[in-house]
Structure formats: structure tokens, C-alpha cells
């Protein structure tokens, strides 16, 4: 079976500095794949390149079509939705407007309304806050909003950049429980995380990044028992 997303020999350079060196990975439909790595390992650069925000070398194919030269907004239309690092919700716009913007690629008003209802059913808390400005939400609610916004575009692949960042342990649990639920329902997820323990319990497969290259990869459960990973990320 051809993978939904296939990245081959991706490179990202910032001037003379190589942030990502020949990284290859794939995500199959229905999988939850985790990219693990310490600060500066190149995780966010990979995601930025994947979403078309920065230029990159190598090949990338999504849903049977090449991604070379496809601008960021067009990639959303093709089915890649991203929950960016730091959430990046629209602070001065209402929760409703944030969500509707997530469904920008949807031009049918009726379908947009349907999508909004579907996302609000997933996040009842957001429905209570519909008219409130996004910036007035708590950190956890903002994360929900960012995820909800991404789901509005009916994505085939949801990419999350450190969803646990800046949240209390209790909220991190809640966010990961939610991701596990989405995964169980058949959603395809690509998650970048530093929170290795949590991510690996849930993921199908994992890639471990070190200094811009993939150091290890395999089924998440196997990696969890790898002494190297345990030492580097799990503090064991």
C-alpha cells in the first residue's frame, strides 16, 4: 500500500546551516506517527517544510501527488492541516471566526455550517466560548481551538507541532487522550513531540531525530524499550 505521506531525503538549510539532513519518513492512512527529538533536532523545520512555509530539498508525495512547489495554502486544500507550534490562534478574532477560518478551503456555506457543528460537538467547551476572543481563552482551551480549527478543513492528515507545550500535566493528559480517541476513529496523525513517554504509548510508529537526521525508527512500542531512547528521552 502506498503511504498517505511519503517524504524522501528531505533537506532544510538556513544559510550555511543544515537543519534537516536527508530525512525520510512515511505516514500511512490511519496511523499515528510520532517524530521525537530534543530541541534543535530539526522537528519543527521538518513540519515547516512539510506545510510549505520554508523551501526544502528532497521529495515529498501526499495522497498520490507531489508536493514540490505547492504553496502552503494549497496544501491545506489537499488535506494537510496543521496545528502549528505555539498554537497561533487568531487572538483578536472570536472562537467562531477562528473555526470558520479553519474551514476556509470549504466554499459551500452549508458544508461549513455542518463542519462547525461537528467540531463544536467534539469540543463543547468551545461552544460555550463561541463569541469570545480567542486570546481570552485559557491555554488548554486555546489548544482545543487550534485542533478544532485544523479539523475544520476535513483533513486527511493532521500534523501537530508539540501539542503538549506549555500545558499543565493534567491538560497534557487530556490532549493526548483526545488524540488517542481521534486515532481510534481512524484519523491519520503526525505528531512532533518532546514528551516522549506520552507520545510513544499512543503512537503506531515513531522516528527519533538527532541533529537533523533520523537516528532510530520503528514501531513505537519497540522504540520505547530501546536503551538509547530510554536514556535520552525517558530519563531511565
Amino acid at each position: 500500500m502506498t503511504p498517505l505521506l511519503e517524504v524522501g531525503a528531505m533537506t532544510v538549510n538556513y544559510g550555511a546551516i543544515a537543519a534537516v539532513r536527508s530525512v525520510s519518513f512515511e505516514v500511512h492512512s490511519g496511523e499515528m506517527v510520532v517524530l521525537l527529538g530534543a530541541n534543535g533536532a530539526g522537528k519543527t523545520s521538518i513540519l515547516k517544510a512539510l506545510s510549505g512555509l520554508i523551501p526544502s530539498g528532497g521529495t515529498a508525495r501526499f495522497d498520490g501527488a507531489g508536493l514540490a512547489g505547492v504553496p502552503a495554502h494549497e496544501r491545506v486544500a489537499r488535506g494537510i492541516a496543521q496545528v502549528p507550534e505555539g498554537r497561533r490562534i487568531f487572538y483578536n478574532l472570536s472562537v467562531k471566526e477562528n473555526l470558520l477560518l479553519g474551514g476556509w478551503v470549504q466554499t459551500s456555506k452549508a458544508a461549513l455550517k455542518q463542519d462547525l457543528a461537528r467540531v463544536l460537538a467534539l469540543f463543547p467547551r468551545l461552544e460555550e466560548r463561541l463569541g469570545q476572543a480567542g486570546g481570552t481563552l485559557s491555554g488548554g482551551e486555546q489548544q482545543m481551538l487550534a485542533v478544532g480549527r485544523a479539523l475544520m478543513s476535513r483533513p486527511k492528515l493532521v500534523v501537530l507541532d508539540e501539542p503538549s507545550m506549555g500545558l499543565s500535566p493534567k491538560l497534557v493528559d487530556a490532549i493526548f487522550a483526545m488524540l488517542a480517541e481521534f486515532h481510534k476513529e481512524g484519523m491519520t496523525l503526525l505528531v512532533v513531540e518532546q514528551n516522549a513517554a506520552m507520545a510513544q504509548t499512543l503512537a503506531t510508529r515513531a522516528y527519533v531525530l538527532e541533529a537533523g537526521a533520523i537516528a532510530l525508527s520503528g514501531p513505537a512500542a519497540e522504540l520505547r524499550d530501546n536503551p538509547l531512547v530510554r536514556r535520552a528521552y525517558l530519563g531511565a
Partner: protein, 320 residues
């Protein structure tokens, strides 16, 4: 008051205002000076809304809108003097104004293409340079009078016409802002990268907004030219652009009601301060400085009068 607003449809109110303007103009209910001020308020309102779309809603910074106004003023004047003068039925004037707006919109597109190719604050520099180019180009075309200016237009701008164009402008800009594209414009203002990541084609959205904005600046130029019956390159210099900025920031960025207030307050104040002579031009910038210190977002900054918000957006549609 709020119940009145709720039950008085906006369209009815617009029609009533238009009929009132017709009556005032036909039966001379107000003296000519007051009518002139009202017309100037209307023209300034169109300019303010036009600039507010870019500087307020989209969060970019244009400082050369006088250039678009000039394009509209000259194109509509040339049309009405050299082409339409002979036949001139009543619809000739709106056509000339429309053509002025279209010309300004086309010029706006030419400015937008290089300006929005990259992210960042290039627009201020590009528009500033552009308005200087427009001024020197007109100064060097003898066919339109060069630096001496252009005249010969009849006084076709009347209170009902200004009223008509104000209603059209408010209606179109309001619907634009509350449309899918309008939401995209707000997203660009808030966070351009996040907008791109939600699928908004930010470049197209910005160009569309810029063309709409320059179109209305051109319309205002056409009305202005046929009101004063004389235009010169000096009319559309950096001072004119600054006036527009003052009106936008006085009334409030990102607000139609604010633009109405800003244009009205500025126009009326400028007239009221006439006894001060040249000093009045010092009072207005001073006002702007005080405003920036005490109320940096203007009177209505990012807030909208409820009656201007479409019913479907009233709940869950805070903060424009």
C-alpha cells in the same frame, strides 16, 4: 434606541437618507455652504473607508492613497470633459465616476503585485513612492494641464450623488468585510503565517482588498473633481494621504462606524477651525498626537456599531 435600530432595517434607513438628500438638494432645504460641507464629509467618508480596509482591517500600512484618488479624479474628469460632454445624459456622470474608480483599481493592482510578493511592511514604502510617481507623471502631461491643473468639469457632484456613493461604499465594504474573504483579511492582520496554514491564499486576499480599496479611493477622486471643478497634482500630495490617515486613526481602525465618525469629525473640525488660518493645519496633527497617546486605536478602534453588523454575525462575531 437599540430596539429602534433592531427594527429599522438598514436598507430602509439608507433609502430614507437618500430621499432626504434628494429633497435637500432639490428644494434647497440647506444653504449651499452646509451642502458643500456635507458633500465633503461624504467624499472623505469614502476615502476613510477605503483606507481603513487596508490599514485597519488588513493591518498593512498604505500611505499613498492620494495617488489612487488622483487616478480616479483625472480619469473621470478627462472622460466627462473630453468624451461625454457632448451628450451627457444623467447617467454619464456615474459612468465617469465608475470609470475613475476602475482606473484607480487597475492602478491599485499594479501597485499590489510587487508589494504583496513578499511578506512584511513593504507596502508603506511602495505606496509612498507610488504617490510621488503619480504626482510627477501628471505634472509632466501637458494634455491634462501639467502642474497648472485641469478644469472644465461641470459641477455634477450633488448631495444625492455623494449620498448614493456613500451608501454603495458602506454597503460593499461592509459585505466584503463580513464575507469569507473579509475573514481572510482579518486573519492576515492577526497572523499571516497562521492564515496561510489554515488555507487562506494570503496573497490573493491582500490583492483583492487592495484593488477594492483603490477603486473606492478613485470614486472619491471622481466626486471630488466634479465638486470643486478644478484639480491639480498638488491636490493629491502627501498632505492628502496624511488627512486620510488622520481620519482613519481618529475614528478608529477596523470599524465602519469609526470611519463615519472620523470623516465627519475631521471635516467639521477643519471647517470650524478656519478662523485660525494656517494654524489649523497645526491643530490637526496635534490632535493626532494626543489621540495616539490617549486613545491609540481611535474612537471606535476594532469595535463596530451593532446596526452595521449583519444579523448572522452578531453573536460569535466580536472584534473586527
Amino acid at each position: 434606541m437599540s430596539t429602534l435600530r433592531k427594527y429599522l432595517p438598514l436598507k430602509g434607513a439608507a433609502a430614507a437618507v437618500f430621499i432626504l438628500a434628494l429633497a435637500v438638494s432639490r428644494y434647497g432645504l440647506l444653504d449651499n455652504y452646509i451642502q458643500l460641507i456635507l458633500m465633503l464629509i461624504g467624499i472623505n467618508l469614502i476615502l476613510t473607508l477605503s483606507l481603513n480596509l487596508i490599514n485597519g482591517y488588513m493591518g498593512e500600512f498604505s500611505v499613498g492613497h492620494a495617488g489612487f484618488m488622483a487616478a480616479g479624479a483625472y480619469v473621470s474628469s478627462i472622460l466627462s470633459v473630453k468624451v461625454l460632454a457632448a451628450c451627457a445624459p444623467f447617467w454619464a456622470f456615474p459612468c465617469a465616476v465608475l470609470a475613475g474608480g476602475a482606473a484607480a483599481g487597475a492602478v491599485g493592482l499594479v501597485v499590489a503585485v510587487p508589494s504583496f510578493k513578499t511578506r512584511g511592511d513593504y507596502l508603506a514604502i511602495v505606496t509612498l513612492a507610488f504617490s510621488m510617481i503619480v504626482k510627477s507623471v501628471i505634472e509632466n502631461i501637458d494634455a491634462v494641464g501639467g502642474p497648472r491643473g485641469f478644469l472644465g468639469m461641470e459641477k455634477l457632484t450633488t448631495l444625492p450623488w455623494v449620498c448614493f456613493w456613500v451608501i454603495v461604499t458602506v454597503w460593499i465594504i461592509r459585505n466584503f468585510i463580513y464575507s469569507r474573504f473579509g475573514r481572510g483579511i482579518l486573519a492576515v492582520r492577526e497572523d499571516e503565517i497562521a492564515a496561510e496554514l489554515t488555507g487562506v491564499n494570503t496573497r490573493n486576499v491582500k490583492m483583492l482588498a487592495f484593488v477594492v480599496s483603490s477603486f473606492f479611493a478613485g470614486v472619491a477622486g471622481g466626486l471630488y473633481a466634479h465638486l470643486l471643478q478644478y484639480i491639480s497634482p498638488g491636490t493629491f500630495d502627501i498632505i492628502k494621504s496624511t488627512e486620510m490617515l488622520v481620519m482613519v486613526y481618529l475614528g478608529g481602525v477596523g470599524s465602519i462606524a469609526g470611519s463615519i465618525m472620523g470623516a465627519t469629525a475631521y471635516t467639521v473640525l477643519l471647517e470650524a477651525l478656519r478662523p485660525l488660518g494656517v494654524w489649523r493645519m497645526a491643530v490637526m496633527p496635534l490632535l493626532l498626537i494626543l489621540l495616539m497617546i490617549f486613545r491609540p486605536r481611535g474612537i471606535m478602534g476594532f469595535r463596530e456599531a451593532r446596526w452595521l453588523v449583519p444579523g448572522s454575525e452578531r453573536d460569535g462575531g466580536v472584534k473586527r
